[in-house]
């Protein structure tokens, strides 16, 4: 090789050696440093959005689902920027951007402009959780400094249906009310992040599908059909009686499953932000009221159970009044001598107080507790209260009389309906619940509700009392208006004066009318309470609540395909069958 060749080879070899040395420096000595730098440039950590579990009714109808939306944000500095690294940018006036955005999103242009003119901020929300159509309009404008972040939005396809049961979430999808709150940890799950590879242009290189994070699905005990029937009739009753508020609870008396629960006033779940506190209240479990005559079953059932009375025991109610502890309590009108059955049927205060006096305060208190009053029912919805019940040592001289007829005690509608379920099902106090099952996204059963019940009355006495309650909706009873076509109804009316806390006496013009009962009385399928607060034009439970019970029951029994009691008696059936050929 010539000398020149040697020189050339030497130079090339040195150059290669330099390259190899540099590579060794990068790849061996500072491997970790440069690897981290490279990763930082072409990988991006993304938070995987958590999809809340779906809430279904007992028939599998969707009550709460997720929608994929986009939230629009702005970088005010970027919006107003006129040049980038010396290069002039396409002029963009914040005033014009604000007008365009407000038109596309339906928001206030002034509010948007105020955000666009904010100094020293690089991130401000313009509008959260925008639907696809509106988001696309903003995308198409290709505005500088306006960005999008995909977000999931909770959507309630049935609007206000069962709003107090289902509840709602906040903007961060955390449960705030109802089932959404109570079962938040099931419906949601831990957020995770994933690393995505991106090229220099920002295009994503997929390394396979990103995993989906989804909470557990919840199946409720309520039935959309029954809930609709309840709400429709409750709305009609509210319009008719112009009540300040109202509640209906329908329950399976054997299992404690809540089949429907509605309160008025109510709100739209998709617009919960605009609802005031009055509308948000789940009065079925949070509002305590004096139950009035619907509470008389406690004294009655206790007397039967303790043997201090029989259905044929007689009580002289002819005076029309009775004095207990210095207070005179009267009946609506004089009844004369009534049997135990008639006392309940006619809802005589005098007769019931005499039954209560026969029991004594200790036993009365014991049975009040047995029926579940003075404590929470344990229903799986947030916000339940235990009601008001004083210990017997704190009772005044008139308390035994007042409590026997449903005064001096505070109950929730749910507590009352549960007590009547115990009469309906033969003496078992059930635990009400609204969640039937919880399933993982892939369908595995995580939780299944099992009926829980505790015996509080003998079956014999419960069935005896059930028969007595049938009389309330029959001729001579206080709630003939609650009688259902084709099926016997057992129940009780209640008309209670509202205690005026300011005047410290019972109001003379503000009442709570209620009816609670079960149907068919012989083989109960539903137990239901209707409570109307401050109805106008009428006050009696039999007038304002009884017809609501009837209308709801008529439709509910049709919906549930419950046969009429008289189907075998009235001879409506004529069936001719044609034998199949060849048989």
């Amino acid at each position: 090789m010539s000398r020149r060749g040697v020189v050339i080879v030497a130079i090339i070899s040195l150059a290669f050696a330099a390259v190899i040395a540099r590579l060794a420096y990068i790849m061996l000595l500072n491997h970790d440093l440069f690897l981290a730098k490279a990763r930082g440039q072409h990988t991006k950590k993304e938070t995987i959005p958590v999809k809340r579990g779906i809430i279904y009714d007992r028939q599998g109808r969707e009550l709460a689902i997720n929608l994929e939306t986009e939230s629009v944000f702005c970088d005010p500095v970027e919006v107003r920027k006129t040049e980038d690294q010396g290069r002039p940018l396409k002029p963009q006036r914040p005033e014009e951007v604000a007008v365009h955005l407000s038109k596309a999103l339906g928001t206030d242009a002034k509010a948007v402009l105020a955000k666009l003119n904010t100094d020293d901020k690089h991130f401000l929300w313009i509008e959260r959780k925008v639907d696809q159509e509106r988001a696309k309009r903003v995308h198409d404008m290709k505005l500088r400094g306006i960005g999008f972040i995909p977000e999931l939005k909770r959507y309630y396809p049935k609007g206000s249906l069962a709003s107090h049961l289902i509840g709602f979430v906040n903007s961060e999808n955390a449960g705030l009310e109802g089932i959404e709150r109570q079962y938040d940890k099931h419906l949601s799950t831990q957020t995770e992040s994933a690393t995505r590879v991106k090229d220099a242009r920002g295009n994503t290189l997929s390394e396979g599908m990103l995993k989906e994070l989804k909470g557990n699905d919840i199946v409720l005990t309520i039935d959309e059909g029954l809930q609709h029937i309840v709400e429709k009739n409750l709305d009609a009753a509210m319009a008719k009686w112009r009540a300040s508020s109202a509640t209906v609870i329908m329950m399976d008396p054997y299992t404690g499953e809540i089949l429907a629960l509605a309160n008025r006033p109510t709100y739209n779940l998709n617009d919960s932000g605009s609802a005031d506190m009055q509308r948000l209240r789940n009065r079925a479990i949070t509002d305590v009221y004096e139950p009035g005559s619907t509470f008389k079953i406690v004294a009655g059932a206790a007397a039967l159970e303790e043997g201090t009375a029989t259905p044929k025991s007689r009580y002289d109610c002819s005076a029309g009044t009775i004095e207990v502890g210095g207070r005179r309590i009267k009946d609506d009108h004089r009844h004369g001598v009534l049997t135990f059955e008639e006392v309940i049927q006619k809802s005589s205060n005098v007769g019931t107080i005499k039954i209560g006096l026969g029991l004594g305060k200790q036993r009365m208190y014991e049975y009040i507790r047995r029926f579940g009053f003075g404590e929470k029912t344990g229903i799986d919805i947030a916000g339940e209260v235990s009601g008001l019940l004083r210990a017997p040592e704190k009772w005044s001289g008139m308390s035994i009389g007042a409590i026997s007829i449903g005064q001096e005690v505070g109950v929730t509608p749910l507590q009352i309906v549960r007590a009547y379920a115990a009469i309906a099902n033969g003496g078992l106090l059930v635990k009400p619940h609204v969640v039937a099952a919880i399933r993982t996204p892939d369908g595995k059963l995580v939780y299944k509700a099992e009926p829980k019940a505790e015996r509080i009355l003998s079956e014999k006495n419960a069935l005896k009392f059930r028969e007595i309650l049938k009389g309330v909706t029959e001729a001579g009873g206080t709630a003939k208006t609650a009688a259902v076509d084709g099926n016997k109804v057992a129940g009780k009316t209640g008309t209670a004066q509202i205690f005026d806390t300011r005047a410290k006496r019972y109001s003379k013009d503000r009442y709570i009318g209620s009816f609670v009962g079960f149907v068919p009385a012989g083989d109960p399928r539903i137990v239901m309470i209707v409570v109307m607060h401050e109805p106008k034009g009428a006050i009696y439970g039999g007038v304002v609540a009884g017809p609501v019970f009837k209308d709801i029951s008529n439709e509910a029994l049709s919906y549930l395909s419950v046969p009429r009691d008289d189907q075998r008696e009235r001879g409506l059936l004529l069936v001719s069958t044609k034998e199949q050929s060849g048989r």
Partner: protein
């Protein structure tokens, strides 16, 4: 002769080795670029899938809103002239499917329930 043959074979072997090496390098590069290209395709398909899923969810939400019993009842009564069944007019028919086709009709109240077979 042997040395001549050997000297001819050596460059052929070397060339073959170099070609094989180059092919190997190219095949590695080609495979890698194919993977990257597939990743791009997969990514765009993922985006498409996401969009379709989003659309499906929106349509599902619309469907769920349209089939609420409240709306169905409103449509059925307003447009179809239908009404909630009167329980007193419901006729109960025995479920005897194994016996073939059945017909039912009202009979006088005093005649009691009957089953007539033809």
């Amino acid at each position: 002769m042997r040395r001549r043959r050997g000297s001819r074979l050596v460059p052929v072997g070397r060339i073959a080795m170099i070609v094989a090496l180059v092919l190997l390098v190219f095949s590695v590069v080609w495979i890698r670029s194919s993977v990257v290209s597939l990743e791009y395709q997969l990514s765009s398909l993922e985006i498409k899938k996401k969009e379709l899923m989003r659309e499906a969810k929106t349509l599902g939400a619309q469907r769920a809103g349209l089939v609420t019993l409240k709306r169905l009842e409103t449509v059925a009564s307003a447009d179809g002239g239908l009404m909630f069944p009167d329980r007193m007019k419901v006729v109960y028919v025995k479920n005897q499917r194994d016996r073939g086709a059945m017909t039912a009709a009202f009979v006088p109240a005093d005649s009691g329930p009957r089953v007539v077979r033809e």
